[in-house]
Amino acid sequence: MTLDQKTAERIAELARLHFDKDPAAAARLAKELSGIVKAMDILNEADVAGVEPLYSPLAEVAGPRPDEPGRGAEPEALLDQAPERVGRFFAVPKII
Protein backbone atom coordinates (compact mmCIF):
# COMPACT_ATOMS: atom_id res chain seq x y z
CA MET A 1 0.00 0.00 0.00
CA THR A 2 1.00 3.61 -0.22
CA LEU A 3 0.94 5.75 2.87
CA ASP A 4 -0.43 9.18 2.05
CA GLN A 5 0.83 12.24 3.84
CA LYS A 6 -2.40 12.84 5.72
CA THR A 7 -2.36 9.33 7.22
CA ALA A 8 1.35 9.64 8.00
CA GLU A 9 0.69 12.92 9.83
CA ARG A 10 -2.08 11.31 11.86
CA ILE A 11 0.24 8.41 12.79
CA ALA A 12 2.96 10.87 13.81
CA GLU A 13 0.44 12.58 16.07
CA LEU A 14 -0.37 9.23 17.73
CA ALA A 15 3.37 8.84 18.37
CA ARG A 16 3.51 12.32 19.94
CA LEU A 17 5.61 13.62 17.08
CA HIS A 18 4.78 16.04 14.32
CA PHE A 19 5.78 16.50 10.75
CA ASP A 20 8.21 19.17 9.71
CA LYS A 21 6.49 22.53 9.26
CA ASP A 22 8.40 23.07 6.04
CA PRO A 23 6.08 21.60 3.34
CA ALA A 24 8.97 20.28 1.23
CA ALA A 25 10.52 18.45 4.20
CA ALA A 26 7.13 17.06 5.23
CA ALA A 27 6.48 15.80 1.71
CA ARG A 28 9.92 14.17 1.62
CA LEU A 29 9.31 12.34 4.92
CA ALA A 30 5.89 11.18 3.75
CA LYS A 31 7.44 9.87 0.54
CA GLU A 32 10.20 8.05 2.45
CA LEU A 33 7.68 6.45 4.80
CA SER A 34 5.49 5.42 1.90
CA GLY A 35 8.51 3.85 0.20
CA ILE A 36 9.33 1.87 3.34
CA VAL A 37 5.74 0.68 3.78
CA LYS A 38 5.67 -0.37 0.15
CA ALA A 39 8.84 -2.41 0.65
CA MET A 40 7.19 -4.07 3.68
CA ASP A 41 4.30 -5.22 1.51
CA ILE A 42 6.36 -8.24 0.45
CA LEU A 43 4.98 -9.74 3.68
CA ASN A 44 1.66 -10.18 1.86
CA GLU A 45 3.29 -12.82 -0.31
CA ALA A 46 4.19 -15.01 2.67
CA ASP A 47 1.94 -18.00 3.27
CA VAL A 48 1.28 -17.73 6.99
CA ALA A 49 -2.12 -19.40 7.12
CA GLY A 50 -2.35 -21.26 10.43
CA VAL A 51 1.03 -19.93 11.63
CA GLU A 52 0.93 -18.48 15.14
CA PRO A 53 2.71 -15.14 15.66
CA LEU A 54 6.07 -15.33 17.42
CA TYR A 55 6.71 -12.36 19.67
CA SER A 56 9.81 -13.54 21.52
CA PRO A 57 12.30 -16.11 20.32
CA LEU A 58 12.75 -18.19 23.46
CA ALA A 59 10.43 -19.75 25.98
CA GLU A 60 13.00 -20.83 28.52
CA VAL A 61 13.61 -17.65 30.52
CA ALA A 62 14.15 -16.72 34.14
CA GLY A 63 10.69 -15.19 34.50
CA PRO A 64 9.64 -12.85 37.27
CA ARG A 65 11.77 -12.75 40.40
CA PRO A 66 10.28 -13.57 43.81
CA ASP A 67 8.05 -10.79 45.07
CA GLU A 68 10.33 -9.72 47.88
CA PRO A 69 11.30 -6.22 48.91
CA GLY A 70 14.77 -5.18 47.83
CA ARG A 71 16.79 -2.09 47.13
CA GLY A 72 16.94 -0.48 43.72
CA ALA A 73 18.35 2.89 42.86
CA GLU A 74 17.74 5.64 45.41
CA PRO A 75 14.45 7.48 44.79
CA GLU A 76 16.19 10.78 45.41
CA ALA A 77 18.80 10.06 42.73
CA LEU A 78 16.10 9.13 40.23
CA LEU A 79 13.95 12.18 41.01
CA ASP A 80 16.99 14.36 40.56
CA GLN A 81 17.18 13.30 36.91
CA ALA A 82 13.89 14.99 36.10
CA PRO A 83 14.07 18.16 34.00
CA GLU A 84 11.81 19.69 36.65
CA ARG A 85 10.75 18.40 40.04
CA VAL A 86 8.73 19.71 42.95
CA GLY A 87 9.58 17.96 46.19
CA ARG A 88 8.95 14.25 45.74
CA PHE A 89 7.20 14.75 42.40
CA PHE A 90 7.99 15.13 38.71
CA ALA A 91 6.63 18.49 37.61
CA VAL A 92 4.54 18.92 34.44
CA PRO A 93 2.44 21.80 33.12
CA LYS A 94 -0.92 22.18 34.81
CA ILE A 95 -3.49 19.93 33.11
CA ILE A 96 -6.73 20.79 34.92
Binding site: I11, L14, G35, I42, L43, P53, L54, R65, Q81
Partner: protein, 481 residues
Protein backbone atom coordinates in the same frame (compact mmCIF):
# COMPACT_ATOMS: atom_id res chain seq x y z
CA UNK B 1 57.86 -6.41 24.81
CA UNK B 2 55.28 -5.45 22.23
CA UNK B 3 53.52 -2.16 22.79
CA UNK B 4 50.92 -2.76 25.49
CA UNK B 5 47.99 -1.37 23.52
CA UNK B 6 48.63 -3.96 20.81
CA UNK B 7 48.29 -6.93 23.15
CA UNK B 8 45.26 -9.09 22.65
CA UNK B 9 42.94 -9.25 25.61
CA UNK B 10 44.02 -12.79 26.49
CA UNK B 11 47.72 -11.87 26.37
CA UNK B 12 47.16 -8.74 28.43
CA UNK B 13 45.13 -10.68 31.00
CA UNK B 14 47.96 -13.19 31.46
CA UNK B 15 50.59 -10.46 31.93
CA UNK B 16 48.34 -8.61 34.37
CA UNK B 17 47.58 -11.71 36.44
CA UNK B 18 51.29 -12.55 36.68
CA UNK B 19 52.07 -8.92 37.61
CA UNK B 20 54.46 -8.58 34.68
CA UNK B 21 52.51 -5.44 33.92
CA UNK B 22 50.40 -3.34 36.26
CA UNK B 23 46.81 -2.26 35.79
CA UNK B 24 47.99 1.37 35.68
CA UNK B 25 50.45 0.55 32.89
CA UNK B 26 47.84 -1.29 30.86
CA UNK B 27 45.07 1.25 31.34
CA UNK B 28 47.54 4.09 30.79
CA UNK B 29 48.72 2.54 27.51
CA UNK B 30 45.15 2.25 26.24
CA UNK B 31 44.34 5.82 27.25
CA UNK B 32 47.47 7.11 25.51
CA UNK B 33 46.56 5.22 22.36
CA UNK B 34 43.02 6.53 22.61
CA UNK B 35 44.24 10.08 22.90
CA UNK B 36 46.49 9.64 19.86
CA UNK B 37 43.89 8.05 17.57
CA UNK B 38 40.67 9.67 18.71
CA UNK B 39 41.04 12.99 16.85
CA UNK B 40 40.73 11.08 13.57
CA UNK B 41 38.60 8.03 14.45
CA UNK B 42 36.11 9.62 16.89
CA UNK B 43 35.03 6.28 18.30
CA UNK B 44 34.15 7.51 21.78
CA UNK B 45 31.46 9.81 23.14
CA UNK B 46 32.81 9.99 26.67
CA UNK B 47 36.30 9.11 27.87
CA UNK B 48 36.63 8.33 31.57
CA UNK B 49 40.40 8.77 31.76
CA UNK B 50 40.80 9.96 35.33
CA UNK B 51 38.23 7.58 36.74
CA UNK B 52 39.87 4.69 34.85
CA UNK B 53 43.34 5.51 36.18
CA UNK B 54 41.99 5.83 39.72
CA UNK B 55 40.33 2.42 39.41
CA UNK B 56 43.55 0.96 38.00
CA UNK B 57 45.54 2.34 40.95
CA UNK B 58 43.07 0.77 43.37
CA UNK B 59 43.34 -2.56 41.53
CA UNK B 60 47.13 -2.44 41.70
CA UNK B 61 46.94 -1.83 45.43
CA UNK B 62 44.69 -4.83 45.98
CA UNK B 63 46.68 -7.02 43.56
CA UNK B 64 45.52 -9.43 40.85
CA UNK B 65 43.06 -12.17 41.62
CA UNK B 66 42.49 -15.32 39.53
CA UNK B 67 38.81 -15.09 40.49
CA UNK B 68 38.71 -11.78 38.59
CA UNK B 69 39.64 -12.88 35.05
CA UNK B 70 39.41 -9.38 33.54
CA UNK B 71 41.55 -7.81 36.26
CA UNK B 72 43.15 -4.57 35.07
CA UNK B 73 41.87 -4.80 31.49
CA UNK B 74 40.79 -1.52 29.88
CA UNK B 75 37.48 -1.98 28.07
CA UNK B 76 34.94 0.18 26.29
CA UNK B 77 31.17 -0.16 26.39
CA UNK B 78 28.76 1.16 23.80
CA UNK B 79 26.98 4.24 25.06
CA UNK B 80 23.73 2.34 25.63
CA UNK B 81 25.06 0.57 28.74
CA UNK B 82 24.14 2.59 31.81
CA UNK B 83 27.19 3.57 33.82
CA UNK B 84 26.59 4.96 37.28
CA UNK B 85 27.82 8.53 37.50
CA UNK B 86 29.11 8.50 33.90
CA UNK B 87 27.10 10.16 31.12
CA UNK B 88 25.10 7.71 28.98
CA UNK B 89 23.60 9.23 25.84
CA UNK B 90 22.61 6.44 23.41
CA UNK B 91 24.05 9.00 20.93
CA UNK B 92 20.85 11.03 21.31
CA UNK B 93 20.39 14.71 22.09
CA UNK B 94 17.53 13.61 24.31
CA UNK B 95 19.96 11.91 26.72
CA UNK B 96 22.82 14.35 26.13
CA UNK B 97 23.15 15.16 29.86
CA UNK B 98 21.81 11.93 31.34
CA UNK B 99 23.90 10.62 34.25
CA UNK B 100 22.58 7.20 35.30
CA UNK B 101 21.98 6.39 38.95
CA UNK B 102 22.96 2.74 38.48
CA UNK B 103 25.14 0.42 36.38
CA UNK B 104 23.82 -1.94 33.71
CA UNK B 105 24.17 -5.56 34.84
CA UNK B 106 26.81 -6.10 32.12
CA UNK B 107 28.84 -3.17 33.46
CA UNK B 108 28.46 -4.37 37.04
CA UNK B 109 29.68 -7.85 36.06
CA UNK B 110 32.60 -6.43 34.08
CA UNK B 111 33.68 -4.35 37.06
CA UNK B 112 33.29 -7.34 39.36
CA UNK B 113 35.57 -9.31 37.03
CA UNK B 114 38.18 -6.57 37.44
CA UNK B 115 37.72 -4.68 34.15
CA UNK B 116 38.18 -0.93 33.92
CA UNK B 117 35.74 1.00 31.71
CA UNK B 118 37.80 3.61 29.86
CA UNK B 119 35.22 4.99 27.43
CA UNK B 120 31.67 4.94 26.13
CA UNK B 121 31.63 4.28 22.40
CA UNK B 122 29.65 5.94 19.63
CA UNK B 123 26.65 4.42 17.86
CA UNK B 124 23.73 5.25 15.66
CA UNK B 125 21.19 7.06 17.83
CA UNK B 126 19.41 4.46 20.01
CA UNK B 127 21.28 1.79 17.97
CA UNK B 128 19.10 2.48 14.91
CA UNK B 129 21.43 2.27 11.95
CA UNK B 130 24.26 0.35 10.37
CA UNK B 131 26.92 3.01 9.85
CA UNK B 132 27.16 5.11 13.05
CA UNK B 133 26.38 8.12 10.87
CA UNK B 134 23.06 8.56 12.68
CA UNK B 135 24.79 9.49 15.94
CA UNK B 136 23.62 12.90 17.14
CA UNK B 137 27.22 13.66 18.15
CA UNK B 138 29.05 13.08 14.90
CA UNK B 139 30.25 10.15 12.87
CA UNK B 140 32.99 7.60 13.61
CA UNK B 141 35.61 6.76 11.00
CA UNK B 142 36.82 3.30 10.01
CA UNK B 143 40.47 2.85 11.11
CA UNK B 144 41.16 0.87 7.90
CA UNK B 145 40.27 3.90 5.82
CA UNK B 146 38.94 7.08 7.42
CA UNK B 147 36.68 7.98 4.51
CA UNK B 148 34.70 4.78 5.15
CA UNK B 149 32.00 3.98 7.71
CA UNK B 150 32.90 1.65 10.58
CA UNK B 151 29.50 -0.06 10.31
CA UNK B 152 26.93 0.10 13.04
CA UNK B 153 25.25 0.48 15.21
CA UNK B 154 28.18 -0.55 17.46
CA UNK B 155 30.54 1.28 15.08
CA UNK B 156 32.39 3.08 17.85
CA UNK B 157 33.08 -0.20 19.66
CA UNK B 158 34.47 -1.85 16.51
CA UNK B 159 36.50 1.18 15.42
CA UNK B 160 37.95 1.52 18.92
CA UNK B 161 39.08 -2.11 18.97
CA UNK B 162 40.45 -1.86 15.41
CA UNK B 163 42.36 1.32 16.33
CA UNK B 164 43.92 -0.55 19.30
CA UNK B 165 42.34 1.86 21.77
CA UNK B 166 41.36 -1.11 23.94
CA UNK B 167 41.66 -4.88 23.67
CA UNK B 168 37.88 -5.34 23.68
CA UNK B 169 34.53 -3.67 23.95
CA UNK B 170 30.87 -4.41 24.43
CA UNK B 171 28.17 -3.64 21.93
CA UNK B 172 24.56 -4.61 21.39
CA UNK B 173 23.09 -6.46 18.43
CA UNK B 174 19.42 -5.97 17.55
CA UNK B 175 19.76 -6.77 13.84
CA UNK B 176 23.51 -7.17 13.29
CA UNK B 177 24.89 -4.25 15.28
CA UNK B 178 27.80 -6.25 16.72
CA UNK B 179 28.54 -8.57 13.80
CA UNK B 180 28.41 -6.04 10.96
CA UNK B 181 30.74 -3.40 12.47
CA UNK B 182 33.06 -6.20 13.66
CA UNK B 183 33.13 -7.41 10.05
CA UNK B 184 33.69 -3.97 8.51
CA UNK B 185 36.51 -3.22 10.97
CA UNK B 186 38.19 -6.63 10.83
CA UNK B 187 37.34 -7.72 14.40
CA UNK B 188 35.66 -10.76 15.88
CA UNK B 189 32.30 -10.29 17.59
CA UNK B 190 29.54 -12.47 18.95
CA UNK B 191 25.83 -11.92 19.21
CA UNK B 192 24.88 -14.37 21.95
CA UNK B 193 21.62 -16.32 22.13
CA UNK B 194 18.69 -14.10 23.09
CA UNK B 195 18.55 -14.25 26.89
CA UNK B 196 22.20 -15.24 27.37
CA UNK B 197 23.18 -11.77 28.63
CA UNK B 198 21.04 -9.58 30.87
CA UNK B 199 19.50 -6.53 29.22
CA UNK B 200 19.08 -4.77 32.57
CA UNK B 201 20.36 -1.23 32.31
CA UNK B 202 20.76 -1.25 28.53
CA UNK B 203 18.89 1.51 26.72
CA UNK B 204 16.15 -0.49 24.99
CA UNK B 205 15.58 -0.47 21.25
CA UNK B 206 13.60 -3.64 20.40
CA UNK B 207 13.35 -5.79 23.48
CA UNK B 208 12.66 -9.15 21.82
CA UNK B 209 15.71 -8.71 19.58
CA UNK B 210 18.30 -6.78 21.63
CA UNK B 211 21.26 -8.75 22.95
CA UNK B 212 24.61 -7.56 24.29
CA UNK B 213 27.94 -9.09 23.37
CA UNK B 214 31.66 -8.47 22.98
CA UNK B 215 33.91 -7.38 20.11
CA UNK B 216 37.66 -7.99 20.19
CA UNK B 217 40.64 -8.79 18.00
CA UNK B 218 40.54 -12.54 18.72
CA UNK B 219 37.83 -15.17 19.11
CA UNK B 220 39.19 -16.26 22.48
CA UNK B 221 39.04 -12.68 23.73
CA UNK B 222 35.33 -12.61 22.88
CA UNK B 223 34.88 -15.91 24.73
CA UNK B 224 36.54 -14.54 27.89
CA UNK B 225 34.44 -11.39 27.77
CA UNK B 226 31.18 -13.25 27.26
CA UNK B 227 31.98 -15.65 30.12
CA UNK B 228 32.29 -12.68 32.47
CA UNK B 229 28.82 -11.29 31.78
CA UNK B 230 26.59 -14.23 30.72
CA UNK B 231 23.98 -15.78 32.98
CA UNK B 232 20.58 -15.22 34.51
CA UNK B 233 19.63 -11.99 36.20
CA UNK B 234 16.69 -11.46 38.51
CA UNK B 235 16.30 -7.97 37.02
CA UNK B 236 15.77 -9.26 33.49
CA UNK B 237 12.83 -11.66 33.27
CA UNK B 238 13.92 -12.62 29.73
CA UNK B 239 17.39 -13.69 30.82
CA UNK B 240 17.90 -17.42 30.51
CA UNK B 241 18.54 -20.00 33.23
CA UNK B 242 20.49 -22.12 30.75
CA UNK B 243 23.88 -22.98 32.35
CA UNK B 244 26.84 -20.80 31.37
CA UNK B 245 29.90 -22.71 30.20
CA UNK B 246 33.52 -21.75 30.67
CA UNK B 247 33.77 -20.12 27.25
CA UNK B 248 37.28 -18.79 27.85
CA UNK B 249 38.58 -22.37 28.04
CA UNK B 250 37.17 -23.37 24.65
CA UNK B 251 39.57 -25.50 22.56
CA UNK B 252 39.78 -25.38 18.76
CA UNK B 253 37.93 -28.30 17.20
CA UNK B 254 39.14 -29.92 13.97
CA UNK B 255 37.67 -28.39 10.83
CA UNK B 256 37.78 -31.77 9.08
CA UNK B 257 34.36 -33.35 9.20
CA UNK B 258 32.61 -30.14 10.21
CA UNK B 259 29.32 -29.84 8.35
CA UNK B 260 28.38 -26.27 7.49
CA UNK B 261 25.07 -25.25 5.93
CA UNK B 262 25.12 -22.41 3.42
CA UNK B 263 21.76 -20.61 3.07
CA UNK B 264 21.50 -20.13 -0.71
CA UNK B 265 19.38 -16.98 -0.38
CA UNK B 266 22.25 -15.23 1.42
CA UNK B 267 25.11 -16.56 -0.68
CA UNK B 268 23.34 -15.76 -3.93
CA UNK B 269 22.38 -12.25 -2.80
CA UNK B 270 23.87 -9.26 -4.53
CA UNK B 271 27.38 -9.40 -3.05
CA UNK B 272 30.02 -6.80 -3.90
CA UNK B 273 32.81 -8.31 -6.07
CA UNK B 274 35.35 -7.69 -3.28
CA UNK B 275 33.19 -9.64 -0.82
CA UNK B 276 32.44 -12.37 -3.33
CA UNK B 277 36.12 -12.85 -4.12
CA UNK B 278 37.19 -13.18 -0.47
CA UNK B 279 34.30 -15.46 0.42
CA UNK B 280 34.86 -17.72 -2.59
CA UNK B 281 38.48 -18.18 -1.52
CA UNK B 282 37.29 -18.81 2.05
CA UNK B 283 34.95 -21.59 0.97
CA UNK B 284 37.81 -23.10 -1.02
CA UNK B 285 40.03 -23.01 2.07
CA UNK B 286 37.31 -24.65 4.15
CA UNK B 287 36.81 -27.44 1.64
CA UNK B 288 40.56 -27.95 1.52
CA UNK B 289 40.51 -28.36 5.31
CA UNK B 290 37.97 -31.15 5.03
CA UNK B 291 34.87 -29.15 5.93
CA UNK B 292 31.69 -30.36 4.34
CA UNK B 293 29.69 -27.49 2.82
CA UNK B 294 26.01 -28.11 2.16
CA UNK B 295 23.94 -25.57 0.25
CA UNK B 296 20.25 -25.41 1.06
CA UNK B 297 17.31 -23.18 0.36
CA UNK B 298 15.78 -21.01 3.05
CA UNK B 299 12.67 -19.57 1.40
CA UNK B 300 11.44 -17.47 4.33
CA UNK B 301 14.64 -15.41 4.25
CA UNK B 302 13.25 -13.21 1.51
CA UNK B 303 10.79 -11.75 4.05
CA UNK B 304 13.51 -11.02 6.58
CA UNK B 305 14.06 -7.32 5.99
CA UNK B 306 10.36 -6.50 5.93
CA UNK B 307 9.52 -8.61 8.99
CA UNK B 308 12.45 -7.20 10.91
CA UNK B 309 11.77 -3.55 10.20
CA UNK B 310 8.09 -3.93 11.09
CA UNK B 311 8.79 -5.73 14.37
CA UNK B 312 11.86 -3.74 15.44
CA UNK B 313 10.19 -0.42 14.66
CA UNK B 314 7.01 -1.48 16.48
CA UNK B 315 8.95 -2.42 19.59
CA UNK B 316 10.95 0.78 19.30
CA UNK B 317 7.83 2.89 19.06
CA UNK B 318 6.61 1.53 22.40
CA UNK B 319 10.02 1.49 24.08
CA UNK B 320 10.79 5.05 23.08
CA UNK B 321 7.44 6.32 24.36
CA UNK B 322 9.32 6.77 27.65
CA UNK B 323 11.13 9.79 26.22
CA UNK B 324 8.44 12.25 27.13
CA UNK B 325 10.38 15.11 28.70
CA UNK B 326 9.12 14.34 32.20
CA UNK B 327 11.27 11.90 34.18
CA UNK B 328 14.77 12.26 32.77
CA UNK B 329 16.59 13.56 29.73
CA UNK B 330 15.74 16.82 28.09
CA UNK B 331 12.57 18.86 28.05
CA UNK B 332 11.81 21.39 25.35
CA UNK B 333 10.43 24.70 26.49
CA UNK B 334 7.03 26.01 25.50
CA UNK B 335 4.05 27.58 27.08
CA UNK B 336 1.53 24.93 26.05
CA UNK B 337 0.12 22.02 27.99
CA UNK B 338 1.32 18.51 28.70
CA UNK B 339 0.66 17.15 25.20
CA UNK B 340 2.69 19.94 23.68
CA UNK B 341 5.49 19.26 26.14
CA UNK B 342 5.62 15.63 24.99
CA UNK B 343 5.60 16.52 21.31
CA UNK B 344 8.08 19.37 21.50
CA UNK B 345 10.53 17.39 23.68
CA UNK B 346 10.43 14.38 21.36
CA UNK B 347 10.48 16.40 18.18
CA UNK B 348 13.36 18.59 19.38
CA UNK B 349 15.66 15.95 20.83
CA UNK B 350 15.03 12.69 18.94
CA UNK B 351 16.86 12.49 15.61
CA UNK B 352 15.25 12.08 12.18
CA UNK B 353 16.00 8.35 11.74
CA UNK B 354 14.65 7.60 15.22
CA UNK B 355 11.49 9.60 14.52
CA UNK B 356 11.08 7.84 11.18
CA UNK B 357 11.22 4.43 12.86
CA UNK B 358 8.85 5.48 15.65
CA UNK B 359 6.31 6.61 13.05
CA UNK B 360 6.79 3.39 11.08
CA UNK B 361 6.30 1.29 14.22
CA UNK B 362 3.29 3.28 15.36
CA UNK B 363 1.82 2.74 11.90
CA UNK B 364 2.38 -1.04 12.08
CA UNK B 365 0.72 -1.18 15.50
CA UNK B 366 -2.17 1.16 14.76
CA UNK B 367 -5.77 0.13 14.36
CA UNK B 368 -6.44 -1.01 10.80
CA UNK B 369 -2.84 -1.97 10.05
CA UNK B 370 -1.98 -4.16 13.05
CA UNK B 371 -2.99 -7.46 11.45
CA UNK B 372 -1.56 -6.64 8.01
CA UNK B 373 1.84 -5.55 9.29
CA UNK B 374 2.66 -6.30 12.93
CA UNK B 375 0.85 -9.63 13.21
CA UNK B 376 1.90 -10.71 9.74
CA UNK B 377 5.54 -9.94 10.52
CA UNK B 378 5.29 -11.89 13.79
CA UNK B 379 3.90 -14.91 11.90
CA UNK B 380 6.72 -14.66 9.37
CA UNK B 381 9.11 -14.52 12.30
CA UNK B 382 7.95 -17.98 13.34
CA UNK B 383 8.51 -19.28 9.80
CA UNK B 384 12.05 -17.92 9.88
CA UNK B 385 12.78 -19.42 13.29
CA UNK B 386 11.37 -22.80 12.22
CA UNK B 387 13.40 -22.73 9.00
CA UNK B 388 16.52 -22.10 11.06
CA UNK B 389 15.70 -24.99 13.40
CA UNK B 390 15.26 -27.33 10.44
CA UNK B 391 18.46 -26.17 8.77
CA UNK B 392 20.49 -26.45 11.97
CA UNK B 393 19.17 -29.96 12.62
CA UNK B 394 20.98 -31.12 9.48
CA UNK B 395 24.41 -29.58 10.05
CA UNK B 396 26.77 -28.36 12.77
CA UNK B 397 26.49 -24.65 11.99
CA UNK B 398 25.31 -22.32 9.29
CA UNK B 399 27.87 -20.16 7.54
CA UNK B 400 26.85 -16.87 5.92
CA UNK B 401 28.28 -13.54 4.79
CA UNK B 402 27.83 -10.66 7.25
CA UNK B 403 27.59 -7.68 4.92
CA UNK B 404 27.06 -7.56 1.16
CA UNK B 405 29.57 -4.69 0.98
CA UNK B 406 32.90 -3.94 2.59
CA UNK B 407 32.98 -0.64 4.51
CA UNK B 408 31.36 1.96 2.25
CA UNK B 409 32.03 5.65 1.80
CA UNK B 410 30.66 7.94 4.50
CA UNK B 411 27.37 9.47 3.36
CA UNK B 412 26.65 6.93 0.62
CA UNK B 413 23.27 5.64 1.85
CA UNK B 414 22.29 8.33 4.29
CA UNK B 415 19.31 9.56 2.23
CA UNK B 416 18.10 6.18 1.01
CA UNK B 417 16.51 4.24 3.88
CA UNK B 418 15.07 1.40 1.78
CA UNK B 419 18.45 0.51 0.21
CA UNK B 420 20.16 1.07 3.54
CA UNK B 421 17.81 -1.30 5.42
CA UNK B 422 18.38 -3.92 2.71
CA UNK B 423 22.11 -4.00 3.55
CA UNK B 424 21.17 -5.77 6.80
CA UNK B 425 19.73 -8.82 5.04
CA UNK B 426 22.54 -11.14 6.18
CA UNK B 427 22.26 -10.40 9.89
CA UNK B 428 18.62 -9.62 10.76
CA UNK B 429 17.18 -13.13 10.65
CA UNK B 430 19.53 -14.36 13.38
CA UNK B 431 17.94 -11.85 15.78
CA UNK B 432 14.42 -12.75 14.70
CA UNK B 433 15.25 -16.39 15.53
CA UNK B 434 17.15 -15.47 18.73
CA UNK B 435 20.22 -17.52 17.73
CA UNK B 436 23.89 -17.03 18.61
CA UNK B 437 26.25 -16.03 15.80
CA UNK B 438 29.97 -15.39 15.74
CA UNK B 439 31.41 -12.96 13.17
CA UNK B 440 35.07 -13.31 12.23
CA UNK B 441 37.30 -11.87 9.51
CA UNK B 442 37.80 -13.99 6.38
CA UNK B 443 40.35 -11.79 4.64
CA UNK B 444 40.93 -8.49 2.88
CA UNK B 445 39.31 -7.43 -0.39
CA UNK B 446 41.83 -7.89 -3.23
CA UNK B 447 41.40 -4.37 -4.64
CA UNK B 448 40.16 -2.17 -1.81
CA UNK B 449 42.12 -3.88 0.97
CA UNK B 450 39.16 -3.69 3.36
CA UNK B 451 38.10 -6.46 5.76
CA UNK B 452 35.48 -9.00 4.72
CA UNK B 453 33.84 -11.26 7.29
CA UNK B 454 31.79 -14.37 7.78
CA UNK B 455 29.37 -15.43 10.48
CA UNK B 456 28.87 -18.82 11.98
CA UNK B 457 25.33 -19.37 13.25
CA UNK B 458 24.51 -21.99 15.89
CA UNK B 459 21.58 -23.53 17.73
CA UNK B 460 20.41 -21.69 20.87
CA UNK B 461 22.98 -21.69 23.71
CA UNK B 462 25.70 -23.37 21.66
CA UNK B 463 28.14 -20.53 22.31
CA UNK B 464 30.78 -22.99 23.52
CA UNK B 465 30.62 -24.92 20.24
CA UNK B 466 30.72 -21.63 18.33
CA UNK B 467 33.91 -20.59 20.08
CA UNK B 468 35.53 -24.00 19.50
CA UNK B 469 34.79 -23.80 15.79
CA UNK B 470 35.69 -20.10 15.74
CA UNK B 471 39.14 -20.82 17.17
CA UNK B 472 39.75 -23.35 14.39
CA UNK B 473 38.50 -20.91 11.77
CA UNK B 474 40.84 -18.28 13.17
CA UNK B 475 43.72 -20.64 12.40
CA UNK B 476 42.44 -21.07 8.84
CA UNK B 477 41.81 -17.33 8.40
CA UNK B 478 44.51 -15.39 10.24
CA UNK B 479 43.31 -12.38 12.24
CA UNK B 480 43.57 -9.02 10.51
CA UNK B 481 44.46 -7.07 13.66
Amino acid sequence: MTELHKLTLTEAARLLQSREISAVEMVGASLARLEATEPLIQACLTVAGEEALAEARALDQAGPDPARPLWGLPLTVKDVFLTKGLRTTAASRYLENYIPAYDARVVERLRRAGAVIIAKTNLDEFAMGNSTEFSAFGLTRNPWNPIKVPGGSSGGAAASVAAYQSPGGFGTDTGGSIRQPACLCGCAGIKPTYGRVSRYGIVAFASSLDQAGPLARRVRDCACLLAAVAGPDERDATSSLHPVENYGAAAARPLAGLKLGLPRELWSANLDPEVRSVLKAALHTLEGAGTKLVEFSFPSLKYTVAAYYVLASSEASTNLARYDGVRYGRRAGGSGGLAELYVSSRQSFLGPEVRRRIILGTFALSSGYYEAYFQKAARVRRLIRDDYARALAGCDFLLAPVSPLPAWDLGRFIDDPVTNYGLDLMTLSVNLAGLPALAFPAGLGPTGGLPVGLQLIARPFEEMALFSAGLALEEAFPPLL
